[in-house]
């Protein structure tokens, strides 16, 4: 992931010194949407790390800048222990960075999502995610595109159905460039 890659890959890696915690949001059990707002434009990239669960949801889906239009494209490569699947979705109303399938307490999906060059004003925004869960076993790479060149200032993580379980947590980090 971004942080460890920046650290270097020789001998004992040094930690990045430009990796800052921006904000953390945690569900209490009564939220279907968790919002990270007023994201500063002072970093180069963002990383979103978290655990997620919902009784009737498979994913914590993601929207940028409150855009719920059909402006997202996603690609997936995933496996469940029995089969490997590659798929693509266009004209979506959100991206799918985090698995969140869980009907049993204590089970949470988890993942890490990189949001690259998020503050650019002339690039459509991209993400790359690695996520999985065990109750409905899945390991997944996915990538996403938001067809909008606006700087990202807000991220909404939305349960596809029902509320997030209490303890669902997303932490946002910023990575500076030189």
């Amino acid at each position: 992931m971004i942080g460890a890659l920046v650290a270097g890959i020789t001998g004992a890696p040094s930690p990045p010194t430009s990796f800052d915690s921006i904000a953390t949001i945690t569900a209490t059990g009564s939220e279907s949407t968790l919002t990270l707002n007023s994201i500063p434009g002072t970093y180069k990239h963002l990383q979103l790390r978290g655990i997620a669960a919902g009784a009737s949801t498979s994913y914590a889906i993601l929207r940028f800048n409150n855009d719920s239009g059909s402006n997202y494209v996603a690609h997936f490569l995933y496996a469940n222990g029995s089969s490997v699947t590659a798929s693509a979705l266009t004209a979506q109303t959100a991206l799918y960075p985090f698995r969140a399938y869980s009907t049993t307490s204590s089970f949470f999906g988890s993942g890490v999502t990189d949001i690259l060059d998020y503050a650019s004003a002339n690039k459509n925004k991209t993400i790359r995610s690695l996520t999985g869960d065990d109750e409905s076993p899945l390991i997944m790479f996915n990538s996403g595109l938001w067809l909008n060149t606006a700087a990202i200032t807000r991220i909404d993580l939305v349960s596809q159905s029902g509320n997030f379980r209490s303890g669902t947590t997303f932490a946002l980090y910023g990575l500076k460039d030189s």
């Binding site: 992931m1 978290g50 669960a53 995933y78 469940n80 204590s106 065990d134 790479f141 209490s166």
Partner: protein, 164 residues
């Protein structure tokens, strides 16, 4: 601003060692990231980990792998250890495999602990896996095991990431 991403400990192998443990992991971070550069001592074999020295059948792993010919997947449920990597590590001199293993929310007391790994073995292939340890205890130790041994020069660093 406080350091968000910092090293906790590093283990460098002198060769002939079959395991290594990060113990007394502080509970003050949000996530852990384990960055590993490993070479097999003489025989590439299975590489696993245990958390908090738990050797019960409390680990399950789902893996996606590819070797340049075809992708594949396996599921290992209710095992006595979690998988660290599917393809293991090279035995070739000066050639190391690499893994980044993310442990999310490792110190909370309400969720089973999960980790996601991405690894490569240049002699074999690349893989990614999702594992669960069915315990709600905070992770305070991580032990990695080689089926054979870890070669000299292998190194593993554990980092902590602290959220606001």
């Amino acid at each position: 601003m406080a350091v968000t991403y910092e090293p906790i400990a590093t283990t460098t192998f002198a060769g002939g060692t079959a395991s290594a443990t990060f113990s007394s992991i502080p509970a003050t971070y949000t996530d852990l990231v384990m960055v590993s550069f490993l070479r097999a001592g003489s025989t590439n074999s299975s590489y696993v980990l245990r958390l908090n020295s738990d050797s019960g059948a409390n680990y399950s792993t789902t893996v996606l792998y590819g070797d340049g010919t075809s992708p594949g997947t396996n599921r290992y449920a209710s095992q006595t250890s979690g998988y660290l990597t599917y393809y293991g590590f090279p035995t070739t001199a000066n050639t190391f495999g690499s893994i980044i293993t993310n442990f999310q929310n490792y110190s909370n007391s309400s969720s089973y602990k999960t980790y996601i790994g991405r690894s490569q073995n240049s002699n074999s292939g690349t893989d990614t896996l999702f594992s669960i340890w069915k315990s709600t205890a905070a992770i305070n130790s991580i032990t990695i095991y080689a089926g054979d041994t870890f070669a000299s020069g292998s190194v593993v660093t554990l980092y902590g990431i602290k959220a606001a």
